[in-house]
Symmetry: C2
Subunit: 363 residues, 2 copies
């Protein structure tokens, strides 16, 4: 960071065109100029056009601070995501911003790094900025945060989950149900020795927790409950997917199906499987979650769950726009996920490998 001071920035040169300047040029009152901009239909057309010409001539733009002060509306929404490093969040934010932009809203962005304290601070800062609405991710939020929202009276919606506590509306998918279906699919293929890799390290990652629960529930229901050692906890990095698979197969070499709560983990797991010389899917089936761009391009293509991130973003935008306008809004929106069966999953090759090598179960 060795910047050599070279130039001083030139300050705001022109004093900024005010509504009064336009009014004077056009020989009307500021009130009329304001009306031309806000309620064009109640101004006589010729007059309106004349004023508009002067507005364009002077390149006048309204001071949003003054506007916001008078109207009490900033036309601004904030979003706090755990991180932008995950494509799934980046995609949702992008869709959110695009939809908001269409309606004249601007988007503040912040990230929490999966830290509830940071999330609270960022939210506080956004609320002080006077945002009209707030988008969160997931259902795990401190009660402190909820009461802050309550007190500020700002419409809020949480995303990527099907439901959130505390009366907060949600838009997203049913994560638990998705992994349960995925697990049932693998059960139907004939798998009986499962492993799970879940990014449940961050306390606030309720999506992955729900996904893990879906796996556990399905397997319990099938009479094959997962032992703790069959569940490897990780963060959200690809490298952890690799090491997780290695650990899993060290403890349970006879595993035939590994369910990951994230594509990133699954891709890491596949890379490691390849390195270990395990054929996917013939020796080991691996599944992911999210359906990132790369998933379809893997070799073999990854079986995963497709999450409609863009739709979640758009839906959150629509919700807030309506809520801010005082229009009636749904309590929650559950969007459909989609199981995408690709070639990383197949029936187990039960006969080829020894079923059990006589190791004691609990080492």
């Amino acid at each position: 960071m060795d910047k050599k001071p070279v130039i001083a920035p030139k300050g705001r040169q022109q004093p900024r065109v005010k509504i009064e300047d336009v009014a004077r040029k056009a020989n009307v009152s500021p009130a009329t100029v304001s009306r031309v901009l806000n309620h064009p239909d109640i101004v006589r057309p010729e007059l309106r056009d004349k004023v508009m010409r002067h507005i364009n001539d002077l390149a006048y733009t309204r001071d949003s601070a003054a506007r916001a002060l008078k109207s009490g509306r900033m036309r601004t929404v904030g979003v706090i995501v755990p991180t932008l490093a995950l494509g799934i969040f980046a995609e949702g934010v992008e869709a959110l911003q695009n939809r908001l932009s269409e309606s004249g809203y601007t988007l503040f962005i912040a990230n929490s790094q999966y830290d509830q304290r940071r999330e609270f601070q960022e939210l506080q800062s956004l609320i002080e900025r006077g945002i009209d609405g707030i988008v969160l991710v997931g259902a795990s939020h401190g009660r402190e945060l909820r009461s802050l929202i309550e007190q500020a009276g700002v419409p809020v919606i949480t995303t990527y989950v099907a439901k959130a506590g505390g009366g907060i509306p949600a838009i997203g998918i049913d994560n638990e149900s998705a992994t349960r279906e995925m697990t049932e699919y693998l059960l139907r293929l004939g798998h009986v020795r499962f492993g799970a890799i879940a990014n449940v390290v961050a306390a606030s990652n309720d999506r992955s927790r729900a996904r893990l629960e879906g796996i556990q529930r399905a397997l319990s229901d099938a009479g094959l409950p997962l032992k703790p050692s069959q569940i490897v906890k990780a963060d959200y990095s690809l490298a952890q997917g690799r090491s997780a698979l290695r650990q899993l197969l060290t403890d349970h070499p006879d595993t035939t199906a590994v369910i990951c709560t994230t594509d990133t983990l699954a891709i890491g797991a596949m890379a490691e499987a390849r390195k270990m010389g395990l054929a996917v899917p013939s020796t080991l089936s691996i599944t992911g979650f999210d359906d990132v761009e790369l998933a379809a391009q893997m070799d073999p293509p990854l079986t995963t769950v497709s999450v409609p991130a863009a739709e979640i973003g758009r839906g959150a935008a629509d919700y807030l726009i309506n809520a801010i306008a005082g229009s009636p809004v749904p309590r929650s929106v559950v969007l459909p996920y989609r199981l995408v069966m690709r070639s990383s999953s197949a029936p187990p090759r039960s006969s080829v490998r020894p079923a059990r090598r006589g190791r004691s179960r609990d080492h």
Copy 2:
């Protein structure tokens, strides 16, 4: 989008605490309350504490619109990226936001989808919002946009490039030099039959154009100028990397080294190479650009150029914070890139494949 209207949002319930309310409770004037918040040191300590207590009691927070109106400063910065779908931009934005947040700034985000018209509109909207600074990406911006910035008198910095025209400061890497080095490296390995895959479809993507130029220049200098058919233009998707490689090898089956201007393209190319049964790197060397997380995890790991995205984001934040404060700032900052030699590149296996199959050069 079939939301059933269910509940109407409850509006802002309390009328919001104003500075006057605090003043009345504390038996002082609004001026004093303001001073306690803005210049604590000029208020008598006991009085200051008393006022602070009441501020906390009432949970008073200043109305940022009124504040901004009076002070002319929003303490807000805007960023416009082409897209958030590219991890490299998401990473930069995240770092930018984190650094800004530390200094009490909030970040507006917008995306242009590589469309200069959209970029202009989004910028216009941000400027109307009264942002104090703006971060752009790349050097290709319409003169319309530059004059808008000039006229608004807002500090600006552009990122991911080493220099930008029109007096706009930049922070980033020298893209052309990076690919030139990469190409020279491959030349040193002994390659003579090159192909390039470049995402130069979007008119405003000057990064990739510069990267392509670096490749061309290095090869021209080596007496091996690329023919148009050796350059395949693509967008930034993985699938296009696949089809680009296929096309390249159809036209030039004897290619031994493929340089991609993006890791995404390179990863697509590697996937396709594998599918075509071409061994990487023994038959075909492939290189990328960006050093995304996945690059190191590929099989074989991808040779690429590491871009310090987080540092770019932080640097942009620092630049704007200083510029806004009126501190002297550098004209531009060139950050070092790093060539990461991994196993996707190796000397050509010149003896094994036929050098030329007697096809006419220009078909």
